[in-house]
């Protein structure tokens, strides 16, 4: 394997990894705050791509506008799911909350099948993402550059929110000790709703980029990115945003390199994430970055 090809695969890996990371941040924020594996995260992502799809092809909005609308609608969906399904089981045993989350995931998938139909639909990709540049033998696909850039921007926004705003401070406080924060007079439910909104919006951004990368959407498309991002979050230490980024990049890069250098194992690609997860949990049961709180 020569250097240009390696660099090219590395770039692809970083691109995929940052996508995983972006979705994983949403997972990790929700987990960090209410200790709930939001199994429906991947399916929320799926719904967001349909919002964008309908905006572009049915309502003929400009693509960027329908992306913005889709992200806002998805944030709203996140709040509604929290209100309808998760808030009633908030003080129930952990297992009840986990089962509820699995139920919500299945509900979104099957409702998607009923409402949108099982037929895959082609997703729009703007022209500027379709270009390929060549630099000293390395083929650079413009989308592969844009994905990490957008992820970095959104990540910066998340950090601004968490560390430079009052509500961000409230989020970090809720993650540390929910009961105590309640006693301090902070409306915990509102903070959690906001977290769901932010997490879902990040999932939407990730989902729409995912749909542009693999330009086809269907109601079950959220399963794979959802699982991979979750694995990324756990690898990095769930609840920890830095860990999610680290885990996402690690997973994306190793996955791409594995497929590139050992093509005979390409069929096992979707199992690879879990094998890596199992190996890492064997040695570090709380993930690479450890720590069980947000921030």
């Amino acid at each position: 394997m020569d250097l240009p090809l390696f660099l090219q695969q590395l770039l692809n890996g970083i691109s995929l990894g940052s996508l995983y990371a972006l979705i994983a941040i949403g997972y990790t924020m929700v987990y960090g705050i209410i200790r709930l594996i939001n199994f429906a995260h991947g399916d929320i992502l799926m719904v967001s791509t349909y919002f964008a799809y309908f905006g572009i092809s049915v309502y003929a909005l400009p693509w960027w506008l329908s992306v913005v609308v889709a992200i806002l609608l998805t944030a709203l969906l996140g709040i509604l799911i929290d209100l309808g399904a998760y808030r009633p089981v908030r003080h129930a045993p952990r297992i009840s909350a986990l089962i509820t989350a699995i139920g919500v995931s299945f509900l979104l998938e099957n409702l998607g099948l009923v409402v949108f139909g099982g037929r895959p639909r082609a997703f729009y990709r703007p022209d500027f993402l379709n270009k390929t540049y060549e630099l000293v033998g390395v083929h650079i696909f413009s989308l592969s550059i844009w994905v990490p850039v957008v992820t970095a921007l959104l990540l910066a926004l998340v950090f601004l929110l968490l560390y430079r705003t009052r509500v961000g401070a409230a989020m970090r406080a809720v993650a540390k000790d929910m009961e105590m924060v309640q006693l301090m007079g902070i409306d915990v439910n509102r903070v959690i709703s906001l977290t769901f909104a932010v997490g879902s919006a990040l999932a939407a951004a990730g989902g729409i980029m995912w749909a542009m990368k693999y330009p086809q959407i269907n109601p079950l498309m959220g399963i794979i990115p959802g699982l991979k991002a979750f694995v990324a979050a756990v690898i990095g230490g769930i609840g920890n945003i830095h860990g999610a980024v680290l885990g996402g990049l690690l997973l994306g890069i190793t996955e791409i390199l594995l497929v590139a250098f050992l093509p005979s194992l390409a069929g096992y690609r979707d199992a690879f994430a879990f094998i890596l997860l199992i190996l890492i949990l064997l040695f570090k049961p709380t993930g690479l970055a450890g720590k069980d709180t947000i921030g």
Partner: protein, 352 residues
């Protein structure tokens, strides 16, 4: 003979009577019912086996596993590869030829089924080491991961599993006697295990792992035992399922199957074997009744078009509602007993 002794005798007789009743019922069904009804009864018996064994690990031992589909897949593939005749195997493996020892093996149904169960149990044994290093949510996700890994392997190990094409032409061995026989056997074994000191230790682990360990219970060994027993019966159920529908492919053993089982044990009540049995039968039948929802209907002048996929929507909503409003499920952790039953019917109770 003391009063207590006599009661136990009567309850034992009641159990045998109920088994005889089941036998008579099956005989009647076998002779009179149509193929569709027999099939649904078969499916519900297989789901009883699955739910009871799944409840052992999730409800009794309190280890939230999401990987029964992995064990079912292993059991189904192992059993199928043993019962399909070598000639048939050669015919279906078109893309890559089947590897040697499997290509010539050919066994009757019972040994194949047992070997299927044993292979699943072996997988459970191997899985236990990484799985029980973690707890709670992590355990759920690691077991789910194993399910996914098994499915991907089944998809790719073409010279053993025939890849995405799957195996077809399985002999149709599963009938009411097999499915109900295995179900009764499973219920017997699992309830005996739950009532034994092993079972009580498992329940202690469910309630408080640290305290259980402090009392001298070997936590890992008990978790492993529950897991391996669950795997064994899930593997047998997989074999039965395979020989009922006579074709298997990796897509059959996706997370979807686990979800179905989860709905059953949650609705029945996590930790109640009786609940699992009742819910397995109800959910299987409800799934069939709900097919009506998916068909076009005409209520008076109103024409409602068929909505395929509606069944799963209903099940998902049901699961969420049970979790919100009736977390205990049908039975909570209670079990059926003749004592309770007689009390319910007010038989043998001293009056006054």
């Amino acid at each position: 003979m003391s009063d207590q002794h006599r009661r136990e005798w009567i309850y034992k007789l009641c159990t045998y009577g109920a088994l005889a009743g089941l036998f008579a019922f099956l005989l009647q069904v076998q002779n009179q019912a149509d193929e569709y009804q027999i099939r649904i009864l078969n499916v519900s018996a297989i789901f009883v086996t699955l739910a009871v064994s799944y409840n052992l690990i999730n409800g009794v031992a309190g280890q939230f596993s999401l990987g029964p589909n992995a064990f079912m897949a292993v059991g189904a593939y192992t059993t199928a590869l043993l019962t399909i005749s070598p000639a048939e195997k050669e015919l279906s493996f078109i893309i890559e030829p089947i590897i040697w020892p499997i290509s010539v093996l050919h066994l009757p149904f019972l040994p194949s089924l047992l070997i299927g169960g044993v292979f699943a149990a072996l997988l459970g044994f191997v899985m236990a080491f990484p799985v029980f290093r973690v707890r709670g949510d992590y355990l759920a996700i690691v077991t789910l991961g194993f399910g996914e890994v098994v499915r991907v392997v089944a998809n790719n190990a073409q010279s053993i599993t025939n890849g995405p094409l799957g195996l077809k032409g399985l002999p149709e061995y599963t009938n009411l006697w097999w499915s109900c026989g295995v179900a009764v056997f499973t219920v017997f074994c699992v309830t005996r295990l739950v009532k034994s000191s092993f079972g009580r230790a498992m329940q202690a682990i469910r309630e408080d792992e640290v305290a259980a360990a402090a009392m001298g219970i070997n936590v890992f060994r008990h978790k492993m035992l529950a897991f391996v027993v669950h795997a064994f019966f899930a593997g047998m159920a997989g074999g039965l399922m395979a020989h009922l529908i006579t074709t298997i492919s990796p897509t059959l053993f996706s997370f979807f199957l686990t979800f179905n089982l989860l709905v059953i044990i949650v609705i029945g009540g996590l930790g109640s074997m009786t609940g699992s049995i009742i819910a397995a039968v109800i959910i299987t039948y409800a799934g069939e009744w709900l097919r009506a929802v998916e068909e076009p209907m005409a209520i008076g002048p109103l024409n409602i078009p068929g909505i395929p996929g509606m069944r799963m929507v209903v099940f998902s909503i049901m699961l969420i509602l049970v979790m919100i409003f009736a977390r205990q499920g049908l039975m909570g952790r209670r079990e059926f007993s003749w004592e309770w039953f007689c009390g319910f019917l007010k038989i043998g109770k001293r009056r006054g």
